[in-house]
C-alpha cells in the first residue's frame, strides 16, 4: 500500500525525477523545448536530481 502524505510533505514529494520527466515530456510534445534523447535526459536528471535517485 502506498504511504499517505500530508499537504506539508507535497513540495518535497514533487521534487523528484518522475515529476521532472512528466514536465519534460509535455514541454517536448507541445514544442516548447527541443526534443532530447533518453540518454541526454537521464544525464540531465542525474545532474540536478542526484539525491532523489540515490
Amino acid at each position: 500500500m502506498q504511504k499517505k502524505i500530508s499537504i506539508k510533505q507535497l513540495d518535497s514529494a514533487l521534487n523528484n525525477r518522475e515529476f521532472a520527466k512528466n514536465l519534460l515530456t509535455l514541454l517536448q510534445d507541445i514544442g516548447q523545448i527541443p526534443r532530447i534523447s533518453e540518454d541526454d535526459e537521464e544525464k540531465l536528471l542525474d545532474k540536478y536530481l542526484v539525491s532523489a535517485k540515490q
Binding site: Q9, L10, N15, D29, I30, G31, I33, Y48
Partner: protein
C-alpha cells in the same frame, strides 16, 4: 500522462443536469474515495471523461458547476482537512504535470482541478475552507500561452475536447487576475501558493531547474503583478484558425 488519474469511466449516456452529474459521479467514483481515505480528486474534465467523453463546449459549464458544487459539498461535509487547488488556464499542463505528481505522491486530502478563473467562486471556496478549518494550498502553472494553445489544439485532435478561444482567454487571464487578487486581498498567504512559471522555459535543462529545490516562485505576487495580459489581443492571437488542427503548428 504516465498513469491514468483516478476516476474510471461509465458507459455512454450523457447526463442531463448538474444534479445528475454530481449524484452519479459522487456515487460511482468519489464515495469510495471518501470512505477509504484515499485522495479525493475532483475535476470537471475527469467528470467529462467518466461520462464517456462529453466534450461539447456548450456543455462545459454543466461540468464546471458540478465540480464546483462537489467541492463545496466536500469542504462542508468531509472529514478531510486539506484542500489543494490545481490552478491554471487550459493547456497549461496542470493536470498532466502537477496533478499526476500529486496523485503519485500519496497525498490523501482533497484535490480540485480548476482554472481558478472566477474570483467570487474562488474566494467563496477559500472562505469555506477556512471556516471548516481546512489547510489550503494552491499549485498553479503560469504557462507559455503559445504552447498552451498548441497543447489544447493537439488534445482536441486526439480526444475531441475543444477549448474555444473565449474559454482559453477566460482561463488564462482569469487565473492570473484571480490569484493576484486573492493574494493582494489577503485571502491567501504567499506561503500557501506554489507557482510554476513556465513562460520562458526554452530548454530541457531550464525545465528541470524549475523542478529542483527552489523551482517554485518564492514571491508569486511579484511575478503575477508583472503579468500584463490583454484579453482582446490574446483572443485574436490564439484563435483556433491560426493553428493547424492536426499538428498544432501556427499557420498565421
Amino acid at each position: 500522462m504516465s498513469k491514468k488519474l483516478p476516476g474510471g469511466s461509465e458507459s455512454p449516456g450523457f447526463p442531463e443536469t448538474v444534479e445528475d452529474i454530481k449524484r452519479r459521479y459522487y456515487e460511482r467514483v468519489l464515495l469510495a474515495k471518501v470512505t477509504s481515505g484515499d485522495l479525493i480528486f475532483v475535476s470537471g474534465d475527469e467528470m467529462k471523461n467518466f461520462f464517456g467523453g462529453d466534450y461539447a463546449p456548450e456543455r462545459s459549464d454543466l461540468y464546471a458547476i458540478a465540480s464546483y458544487q462537489t467541492i463545496e459539498k466536500l469542504i462542508g461535509e468531509s472529514s478531510r482537512k486539506e484542500l489543494v487547488f490545481l490552478a491554471g488556464g487550459p493547456g497549461a499542463g496542470k493536470t498532466e504535470i502537477v496533478g499526476q505528481g500529486i496523485v503519485d505522491s500519496g497525498y490523501s486530502g482533497i484535490l480540485y482541478d480548476t482554472t481558478f478563473s472566477h474570483l467570487d467562486g474562488v474566494k467563496h471556496l477559500i472562505n469555506m475552507a477556512r471556516q471548516n478549518e481546512l489547510e489550503v494550498r494552491i499549485y498553479g502553472i503560469l504557462a507559455n500561452l503559445e504552447r498552451a494553445r498548441v497543447h489544447t489544439i493537439i488534445r482536441e485532435h486526439k480526444i475531441g475536447r475543444e477549448v474555444p478561444v473565449e474559454a482559453f482567454v477566460r482561463g488564462h487571464v482569469g487565473f492570473v487576475e484571480t490569484l493576484r487578487t486573492v493574494l493582494q486581498d489577503g485571502d491567501l498567504a504567499e506561503s500557501e501558493v506554489r507557482l510554476l512559471d513556465l513562460r520562458m522555459v526554452r530548454t530541457a535543462e531550464e525545465a528541470i531547474q524549475k523542478v529542483v529545490a527552489l523551482g517554485w516562485e518564492s514571491d508569486p505576487l511579484v511575478v503575477l503583478e508583472g503579468v500584463d495580459y490583454n484579453r482582446n489581443e490574446i483572443k485574436g492571437k490564439y484563435a483556433k484558425e491560426n493553428f493547424d488542427k492536426t499538428t498544432g503548428q501556427r499557420i498565421k
